[in-house]
């Protein structure tokens, strides 16, 4: 099996935002701001009516985006728009499986490639069900990002050794959402995953504070920050959609993202 690399250098800051939240134009501005703030990879969430792996924050963001008429094809085309407006970092499409099925697996990859996407992550498609999509991903040169969870145990080796792009570690049991604390066993889990992985290992779910980022960079290659940023978008939404306040609101968002990424840019004690 091929390793499909992403051209990135750890440590990786991987922010997540939802396409079309609060509207598509704002999403493009937020992507530009995140790149400016030091994002290495952008994870672009496709809103879904029934997001089983997501907590209330991302559920609400999805509902806002769907109310605005966002769809999977439109979200992919939004990547094309981002490329035209100057977003250069790799973009990973985060989508549930059912919208991909309805678009058609091959059409999905073709459209994603055509619009400049760099990879795909499907949270409800476990390794065992992912065969046909992995093949298509290889054909179109788009890695299918795999996830491992604290319950993966003996599955880690199999999943990690076949991982493409980067490997996404779920920090703890549960759905996405800000967590006050992360499990004490997280370090051991991440070291175990790293031992088996040929690609960078990033951790996500619940990461919302610079202190957490500082701690995690010691044991893995990157962090995914989702709900904390989406919550910020939710707070700023009225201003993001007001023409005369948008620039200031985007700057506030960027500053918040930069504060989360900052610990990754400081010299590392054990690396």
């Amino acid at each position: 099996m091929k390793t499909l690399p992403l051209s990135v250098n750890p440590p990786l800051f991987i922010p997540f935002i939802v396409a079309g939240d609060p509207d598509p134009d704002v999403t493009i501005d937020l992507a530009l701001a995140l790149e400016e703030a030091g994002a290495d990879i952008l994870e672009l969430g496709v809103p879904y009516s029934d997001p089983l792996a997501d907590g209330p924050t991302i559920q609400r963001a999805a509902a806002r985006a769907l109310d605005g008429g966002m769809t999977l094809p439109k979200a992919i085309q939004l990547i094309g728009e981002m490329r035209k407006k100057g977003v250069n970092i790799p973009i990973i499409l985060f989508t549930y499986y059912n919208p991909v099925l309805q678009l058609g697996e091959e059409s999905f990859f073709a459209l994603a490639q055509e619009n400049g996407a760099d990879g795909v992550l499907i949270p409800d498609l476990p390794f065992e069900e992912s065969g046909s999509l992995r093949e298509l991903g290889e054909r179109f040169g788009l890695p299918l990002i795999s996830l491992v969870a604290p319950t993966s145990k003996q599955r880690i080796e199999r999943i990690a050794s076949a991982a493409q792009g980067f490997l996404y570690c779920v920090s703890s049991l549960g759905v996405t959402g800000v967590r006050e604390t992360l499990p004490e066993t997280l370090g051991d889990f991440l070291r175990e995953v790293k031992r088996h992985s040929r690609v960078p290992v990033a951790v996500g779910f619940g990461i919302s504070a610079p202190e957490q980022v500082a701690m995690l960079k010691e044991v893995c290659d990157g962090v995914v920050v989702g709900s904390a940023l989406v919550q910020k978008v939710e707070q700023l939404a009225p201003r993001l959609q007001a023409p005369d306040e948008r620039e200031a609101a985007v700057a506030e968002f960027a500053a918040y993202a930069r504060s989360l990424a900052a610990p990754l840019r400081e010299p590392c004690s054990s690396r």
Binding site: E128, S152, R155
Partner: protein, 405 residues
């Protein structure tokens, strides 16, 4: 000869499988392994049957419906009386089976989702019986519609968690139950209420519901000396239907599943998933579902909270795709009329879910000769639906309920 389903990947033909977050893969594998051991363990089966007999009152009777038969002037109509189970519906069969499996796995906390509240009540009941904790997720809209069942669950000691996402009905309650399970899978057992969800749930629930069909087959043969010509059951997720149909799949019996047509299958207000849906993934399984062209799941509608679900069990999708079972639908009005007809001819008040099966059976029996037979799976009793009936009949006829005939 049909192929044996599900296969090792949990597939019924193209349907089924496990489309869940990675976190749940290990819990599902553990349940699968323990289920296979339990089903091969004679003492497990004996314990299950013993509890069904002494706690739930099985075997449930097979009742001939002479007045209804005479009224229609066609085939002889029989009822499999799942309404006479403890807690009033077939749901308890599955709840007892899964509670026994949870106990075997050392799990003492149950998670359940519920629509009308029947599965929630069954889960709360077995939790009390086995000394387990039980947390039931229920949509806020359903909580309003089924106040009595909510209180029943609380009386039984369960915690009922209102779900405010989406349309606040069964689909959303199921989402929330799965999310809670993802966070608590280390010490909780998810007791799903129908033949839906990721593998091995559709298989497990079928195995714990097939007692309906196994009993019915024996009873029918003893009574009529032959198998029924037609069997009819209602289909939401489809657990009573699979339980009834499964033992007859290899026989020369016409099987008819009845979905909820709500206000009509040509309106947007129905829950006729196989009749009108398309292939996709919902709650971890590939099946037919109601969705828009972009794969967003649509909100179903039915007068019956138990049939108000946008997906259907993957085995039903498979049986429809190979043509073994015929899936039809009945509207709210047809179900209400059948509800009244059965109540007034036989003195049996069916659940509004089961009334959908009665409606279709009435239609079929009328056209069949008197030497043929129709068996209806009467999946539950209708006490819980009396208020719904009052509202529906009052709204429709604009007259005093007491004079409704």
């Amino acid at each position: 000869m049909m192929e044996r389903v599900p296969n090792e990947y949990g597939r019924f033909g193209d349907f089924g499988g496990k489309f869940v977050p990675e976190t749940l893969m290990l819990p599902l594998e553990e349940i699968e392994a323990e289920l296979d051991k339990a089903l091969a363990d004679e003492s497990f089966k004996q314990e299950y049957i013993r509890i069904l007999q002494h706690y739930s009152g099985r075997p449930t009777p097979l009742t001939f419906a002479p007045n209804l038969t005479q009224r229609l002037g066609g085939a002889k109509i029989y009822l499999k009386r799942e309404d006479l189970n403890h807690t009033g519906a077939h749901k308890i069969n599955n709840a007892i089976g899964q509670a026994l499996l949870a106990k075997r796995m050392g799990k003492k906390k149950l998670i359940a989702e519920t629509g009308a509240g029947q599965h929630g009540v069954a889960a709360a009941t077995v939790a009390a019986h086995f000394g387990m904790d039980c947390i039931v997720f229920m949509g806020e809209e359903d909580i309003k519609r089924q106040e009595l069942n909510v209180f029943r669950m609380k009386l039984l000691g369960a915690e009922v968690v209102p779900v405010s996402s989406g349309n606040r009905t069964l689909k959303d309650a199921t989402n929330e139950a799965i999310r809670y399970w993802v966070a608590h899978c280390d010490d909780h057992f998810y007791m799903i209420g129908s033949v839906v969800g990721p593998h091995p749930y559709p298989k497990m629930v079928r195995e714990f519901q097939r007692v309906i069909g196994d009993e019915a087959k024996e009873q029918f043969l003893a009574r009529e000396g032959k198998l029924p010509d037609v069997i009819v059951a209602c289909v939401g997720g489809g657990s009573n239907a699979i339980g009834m149909f499964y033992p007859f799949l290899q026989d020369d019996v016409r099987l008819v599943g009845v979905e909820a047509a709500g206000k009509g299958i040509d309106t947007p207000h129905h829950a006729a998933t196989i009749t009108k849906g398309t292939k996709g993934v919902i709650h971890g399984a590939m099946t037919y579902l109601l969705q828009d062209e972009y794969g967003q799941i649509l909100e179903p509608y039915s007068i019956s909270a138990g049939l108000d679900y946008p997906g259907v069990g993957p085995e039903h999708a498979y049986l429809a795709s190979i043509g073994r079972v015929c899936y039809e639908s009945a509207t709210d009005d047809e179900a209400v009329a059948a509800f009244q007809l059965l109540a007034q001819t036989e003195g049996i008040i069916p659940a509004i879910e089961s009334a959908h099966a009665v409606a279709k059976a009435v239609e079929l029996a009328r056209e069949m000769p008197p030497d043929e037979t129709v068996l209806i799976c009467l999946s539950g009793r209708g006490d819980k639906d009396v208020q719904t009936m009052m509202r529906h009949l009052g709204a429709r006829e604009g007259e005093d309920i007491a004079t409704v005939r």
